[in-house]
Symmetry: C2
Subunit: 243 residues, 2 copies
């Protein structure tokens, strides 16, 4: 039976696995429908709703892996001078804290952006359960492999981008691709965070970000209304990204 717990914030909604919109994401971990009930009791897989709270923080004991069910997370790192750097985002279907398998402590922060739902997989229980169910391990291997590809592609999208324009274009395309996995819309994108956070993440100033967004709109590549982006010329955007 699925148990749902409440963390750190007052206005928490309880969501069980059966009504979770991201069932397909969790399904691999369940290793087939017939075994859901077994998994639920053995794995203590729970749906947790957090509101703008950290899932975990730097140096905290790494004792669980999380899969994002709904909403977005930002990952941050605190530099020696105390400045916060946004090192990535996580969307439904992606893992957070998978390092836990081999690391005693997390070394970054995972903070919910708005209301989110995650599945928590306790490491101890995962190990116990894995011995009994090889299918579970195969699912985890597949999930980790997918996460690996996502990370490599994310890396590829930001590395070797000399101009701010190509970097932003590549970032938008990367977000679009990752969103496509849980949303139907191929041409629309909701930015999970404000300009400041995106600028921080990409390593330039909010002014530069604004200017480029304006330029992209003038060129007819996209239209942007607050945090809602509509892609108008995908090939054009790809051209900008690959340069």
């Amino acid at each position: 039976m699925t148990t749902c717990i409440k963390v750190k914030q007052p206005k928490t909604k309880y969501i069980d696995c059966d009504s979770c919109s991201m069932q397909p994401v969790c399904l691999p971990l369940k290793a087939g429908k017939t075994e859901i009930s077994i998994m639920d009791s053995y794995l203590s897989k729970r749906n947790i709703v957090t509101i703008s709270t950290p899932l975990f923080q730097e140096k905290e004991k790494a004792d669980a892996i999380y899969a994002v069910c709904s909403g977005s997370f930002k990952l941050t790192e605190t530099s020696p001078e105390g400045k916060e750097k946004v090192i990535g985002f996580r969307f439904p279907g992606e893992l957070i804290g998978e390092d836990a398998i081999h690391t005693p402590n997390y070394n970054y922060n995972a903070v919910a952006v708005g209301n989110t739902t995650v599945c928590r997989v306790d490491l101890d229980e995962l190990n116990e359960c894995g011995k009994l169910m090889p299918e579970l391990q195969l699912s985890l291997i597949s999930l980790l492999s997918k996460q690996n590809s996502m990370l490599r592609e994310e890396f590829t999208s930001v590395v070797a981008k000399h101009t701010a324009e190509s970097l932003l274009a590549a970032f938008i395309l990367n977000m679009l691709k990752r969103n496509a996995q849980y949303q139907e819309t191929e041409s629309k994108l909701h930015l999970p965070v404000g300009r400041d956070v995106i600028a921080n993440h990409l390593g330039f100033r909010r002014e530069t970000l604004s200017r480029i967004f304006s330029k992209f709109q003038q060129k007819g590549l996209l239209s942007i209304q607050a945090k809602d982006v509509e892609i108008l010329d995908l090939p054009g955007l790809q051209d900008v990204a690959y340069n």
Copy 2:
């Protein structure tokens, strides 16, 4: 018994597992010494030596995972205009092609930089074998988790670096950390490739790279002789990276 095969190049040396310098890297896959012989026959794990040849290429069928035993690999992507972009490097102890687990085809090129040794794990055989040996799967899970962390850290080291100086400093530190896992020297680093390739990877011109290397030498942060870098002021370099 370990079998070693020869690929694509004439001057290939045969190396078996017992004499491989990177045994500790492969050990997790072997799931304990007592089972080495079983693994060798079941998994067809082979040491392959390649010389400047692609391990695999874009769009090729993804049927194996590789672990680097010795030497370095560069990963590249061909842009629509046909330009080659260096999207990363892989060093001993790291995985290549782990995407194979969930992707039908590779979507990047893995090219040996000089002479290298890799362990090839055939996917079909891995699946067969996994059913018989849960420990093997646990090892793979651990390897994938480590690779995940490596990728995230690599990503973190290049993202949000506004100046070319901080980007290069972060790149050197990342290389240094990854080298430390299989070399004793904490302060020395051998660049696996020339300036052009590094500049391509980091997204700026070879002239800029040269200038920054010169600047770092003038500041006494490091000394560089061809491809050999010696770190002289690690905290100083970290200061440059975190800015």
